[in-house]
């Protein structure tokens, strides 16, 4: 098939060089035209236009183009001296006029050299000589340069994105090195000077060397550019990528319904709440700082949620919100009476405290400590106080708490940190002036893990607690408006500094009469109601109630009593529900049928005591109890044996009692030989119950004196008091409970240390009236009061006598003391 060959020009034998001829010259600015390339040209200036028109009016359409040496000479002004001598003859292939400008497409033909200028006006004209084709000097060098140039072009193309492969092929397939050089010179912006040098080059070698240098420079520039561009691109790509991913994440979260609008919205919600909240300035400042931190965090960051929880806590705390005080003392009195029977002194003291609050509303709230046995109404008193004051009430049980962080919170740096119980409670009640009950402060733990009692010191100190700093919140909170009420069963375990901060109110156990009244007025109606009965369906006689309190319950308070009453009520409710009966009235005789045999056998006063047994009184958490101290001689033995789970203090007081009696034997009417020759054993039943304390001193003395003298202890008398080695009797605690217990046991004579006389006032009047109370100062007073006049046991008398006779007969002379 026929085929076109476009690149092979050599097939035409070069014609011999023509003679110099005259031709129109077109001066060019900033542009150099090369042979064998087609380029567009725009011509607008008058002289140049004339030159072109002249050329167009010839058969050959040829024009000679030369470049001006300097840029600032325009085509119209250019003098022959401003122009290079060597240029290119072009054939004008196309011409269009467009608004006075001639648009030309010209094809470079041959290089020429100006021989002689022939005219400058109306256009430049010169006699020119066509220059011969380029000579090849060293074919190998030409080939090497050509390959290098092609390599560089390839490099340049690789740096350019999206070059179609056919372009690459087209450039690479350009076989003619001269054409390639001229083409590159035409398209690259090499500068007039370099371009002109390339045009003037008369050998292929020279031209290629120049091209090579120019191209190398271009490629280097390109590489740098491309590097800069790609770095900038990388930078942009990364931030753009982050942005896109974030947007996508937001969209996904929205789709999942996790939250409306992601972290931004969450932070905004918090900000809104923050702006509306009534916060002290320092709190607001801190909260805003945290919020800003939160806004800068991505939602996935662990800190984000920590901060959110923290901020929510801060916003929910009642920094300035108080409940309105409606303090009417008469109303308070009424509330207290309604909720509690008796407790006159305690109500009085509570009302006194409330009166101060009423008169000085800005004063620090008092801190009250109720101490008393279980079930006497400490917690419900706290509730009544809150009701009387019209304040919120919250109760914290401190029993068994051993970590101070429970009270004061964990620092936020810990995972799962939470505020302490105090702050939690405040958030729960929502006001900053609640009545806060700290239950069981005597049962706070205290070991290496922490000491919550010490944390309470700050909380309960009115001078410090206006800037209470929870570890979690880490901002001062004013606790001074909180009405703290603490409760405890015992005073001793509470550390002194803590006890010192509170106003201590002791609640003793109730007497049987009080229990009877409480049962009639509060417990029975309440249980009737709770068990679905009506008032007249169940009546319990007073005797029955007394029987319950003495034989079925054993307590200082009324909790068991209430439970037992409830038990009765349920049994009655069953009968009523079964339709067996309409109404039940329970008497003392019927109790056994309902509740079974009595469960409690309190120590009752023994009708007659043998020598060596004395009645004492003990304080227990359940109230008071009567106990018997038994002493017996061990003939031929020595020393003192003590049994019955006695503590050190009790053992020591037994030793003190013996030593005192021994040292004062004669004056107390005791034969010292009996003490010397016999061991003695003291036992305190019940043997399984641990006992301790000094208050059995007088009882032990009495028992010992009884066994040594043979005189019995009066069975209608019980006693308590601490003794000293010099024979003094010291006061002891728990008088009310002890006396009540003795009274319950049927004892009517009570021996007490005289310095305990003040406590006698606490004993209910009705009980006191039935008692003979004997205050004592010294052990000798005790013995006078409790020992029967004569040793009444004939057996004991004979025993003594025999012992003494044996001594007289023996080698050992009895020691006699001079009086």
């Amino acid at each position: 098939m026929a085929e076109e060959k476009t690149t092979e020009t050599k097939t035409v034998t070069p014609p011999p060089l023509p003679q110099p001829f005259e031709i129109a010259i077109l001066p060019l600015q900033n542009t150099t035209l090369f042979p064998e390339t087609v380029v567009p040209l725009a011509v607008g200036r008058e002289r140049s236009t004339r030159a072109v028109e002249e050329a167009l009016a010839t058969e050959e359409k040829l024009l000679a183009c030369v470049t001006t040496k300097t840029e600032n000479v325009t085509g119209d002004d250019a003098k022959p001296g401003d122009l290079y001598k060597i240029g290119t003859i072009v054939n004008i292939k196309r011409m269009m006029r467009n608004e006075g400008i001639m648009q030309l497409i010209v094809q470079g033909m041959d290089r020429f050299e100006i021989v002689e200028w022939t005219a400058e006006q109306p256009y430049l004209k010169a006699k020119v000589q066509i220059l011969p084709d380029l000579r090849r000097v060293d074919d190998e060098e030409i080939e090497a340069l050509k390959r290098n140039i092609q390599g560089m072009i390839q490099e340049a193309l690789a740096l350019l994105p999206n070059v179609p492969p056919e372009i690459r092929a087209a450039v690479m397939s350009q076989e003619n090195p001269v054409q390639l050089s001229y083409f590159l010179a035409s398209v690259l912006d090499l500068g007039t000077e370099t371009e002109q040098k390339m045009l003037e080059s008369s050998t292929v070698d020279g031209l290629l060397t120049l091209t090579h240098a120019a191209l190398a420079r271009e490629v280097e520039i390109m590489q740098i550019r491309s590097k800069i561009a790609s770095e900038a691109q990388n930078e942009m790509d990364k931030s753009q990528r982050d942005y896109v991913l974030r947007q996508q994440m937001k969209a996904i979260q929205k789709e999942l319904g996790d939250d409306e609008g992601g972290e931004k919205a969450e932070a905004e919600q918090l900000r809104e709440r923050l702006e509306k909240a009534d916060l002290p300035d320092d709190v607001r400042k801190e909260a805003e700082r945290e919020l800003r931190r939160m806004e800068s965090l991505p939602q996935a960051a662990p800190d984000f949620h920590v901060i959110r929880t923290y901020l929510e806590y801060i916003l929910e705390l009642p920094w300035r919100k108080s409940s309105e005080e409606k303090l009417d003392l008469n109303e308070a009195r009424r509330v207290l009476d309604e909720d509690h029977y008796g407790l006159e002194d305690i109500k009085e003291r509570i009302l006194e405290s409330l009166a101060v609050v009423k008169l000085r509303p800005d004063s620090k709230s008092p801190i009250i400590l109720f101490v008393g046995p279980p079930g006497v109404g400490k917690t419900s008193l706290g509730r009544s106080i809150a009701r009387a004051l019209g304040r919120e009430f919250d109760r914290l049980s401190l029993g068994g708490m051993r970590d101070e962080a429970e009270l004061r919170g964990h620092r936020r740096t810990y995972v799962g940190a939470m505020p302490g119980r105090i702050i939690q409670s405040l958030r729960r009640v929502g006001v900053n002036n609640p009545v806060m009950m700290l239950d069981e402060v005597d049962k706070l733990g205290n070991d290496f893990r922490g000491d919550p009692a010490s944390a309470l010191l700050e909380i309960l100190d009115p001078a410090q607690n206006n800037t209470f700093r929870d570890n979690y919140i880490d901002l001062p909170f004013d606790l001074s408006k909180v009405f703290f009420i603490a409760t405890a069963n015992q005073l001793q375990p509470i550390p002194m500094p803590l006890r010192d901060r509170m106003e201590i109110i002791q609640l003793a156990g109730y007497s049987d009469r009080e229990k009877l009244n409480i049962a009639k007025q509060y417990l029975i109606p309440r249980q009737i109601k709770e068990n679905g009965l009506t008032g007249d369906q169940l009546t319990i006689s007073d005797d029955a109630i007394n029987l319950i309190t003495s034989r079925y319950t054993r307590e200082a308070g009324v909790r068991q009593l209430e439970r037992t009453v409830g038990n009765l009520a349920r049994k009655v409710a069953l009968k009523v529900a079964q339709g067996l009966t309409e109404k039940v009235s329970i008497t003392a005789e019927e109790i056994k049928g309902y509740l079974g045999p009595p469960r409690v056998y309190p120590e009752e006063a023994r009708k007659e005591l043998p020598a060596g047994v004395a009645t004492g009184m003990a304080w227990t958490e359940m109230g008071g109890e009567v106990l018997f101290i038994e002493a017996t001689l061990l003939p031929g033995g020595s020393g003192l044996t003590l049994t019955g789970q006695l503590g050190d203090v009790m053992k020591e007081s037994a030793q003190a009692a013996r030593s005192y009696l021994w040292s004062h034997a004669t004056e107390l009417g005791i034969n010292p030989e009996i003490i010397k020759q016999n061991g003695v054993h003291i036992h305190v039943p019940a043997g399984a119950i641990p006992k301790d304390g000094p208050s059995a001193g007088v009882t032990m003395s009495s028992a010992l004196a009884s066994i040594y003298t043979g005189r019995k202890v009066r069975s209608d008398t019980s006693m308590t008091g601490e003794i000293t080695l010099s024979g003094l009797v010291f006061p002891v605690g728990g008088i009310k409970e002890k006396v009540l217990a003795a009274h319950r046991a049927g004892i009517r004579r009570i021996v007490l240390p005289d310095r305990n006389e003040a406590d006698v006032d606490e004993i209910p009047e009705d009980v006191r009236r039935e008692l003979e109370i004997i205050p004592v100062k010294r052990i000798s007073d005790v013995l006078d009061a409790v020992l029967e006049k004569e040793s009444s046991d004939p057996g004991l008398k004979s025993y003594f006598a025999r012992n003494l006779e044996a001594k007289a007969d023996g080698s050992d002379r009895p020691v006699t003391h001079d009086i």
């Binding site: 098939m1 026929a2 085929e3 076109e4 060959k5 476009t6 690149t7 092979e8 020009t9 097939t11 035409v12 542009t31 090369f34 042979p35 064998e36 390339t37 087609v38 380029v39 567009p40 028109e53 167009l56 009016a57 010839t58 058969e59 050959e60 359409k61 054939n91 004008i92 292939k93 196309r94 011409m95 269009m96 006029r97 094809q107 470079g108 033909m109 041959d110 340049a156 193309l157 350019l160 070059v163 179609p164 056919e166 372009i167 087209a170 450039v171 350009q174 054409q179 390639l180 001229y182 083409f183 035409s186 398209v187 690259l188 912006d189 271009e218 520039i221 390109m222």
Partner: protein, 120 residues
């Protein structure tokens, strides 16, 4: 192709447009086979017969010459020019040698028609 190459070189900051070309122009040509040889038609309007040279070398037919603007006279002014006036060349390679073929040519309606008769 060269045009699109330019586009890429322009990217380097060059505003120049250029195209590789020879010094000549290449007229369009049709070639077809007839029972007794070949017919070649070349688009050579405006070319005088005396300005055309036809040569055979082996299996190659070379048509070369020059289109001159015969109609122009001094003093005219072109408003538009789209016809190329310069040297041209057309090289046609045949699948078989054409040496010795009898060749005649004629101009007809601006076309140069060359007939190659198989030589006897």
């Amino acid at each position: 192709m060269a045009k699109s190459t330019n586009r890429y070189f322009q990217f380097l900051g060059s505003s120049k447009k250029a195209q590789v070309s020879g010094r000549l122009w290449y007229p369009a040509a049709d070639v077809y086979k007839v029972p007794d040889g070949w017919v070649v038609k070349v688009e050579l309007a405006g070319v005088s017969a005396e300005d055309v040279e036809i040569d055979i070398q082996g299996n190659t037919l070379i048509i070369a010459g020059c289109r001159k603007d015969r109609s122009c006279v001094s003093g005219i002014s072109y408003e538009q020019m789209e016809i190329t006036y310069s040297n041209f060349e057309k090289t046609l390679r045949f699948p078989a040698p054409i040496d010795g073929a009898k060749l005649d040519h004629m101009f007809e309606n601006g076309l140069l028609i060359i007939r190659l008769h198989k030589g006897q």
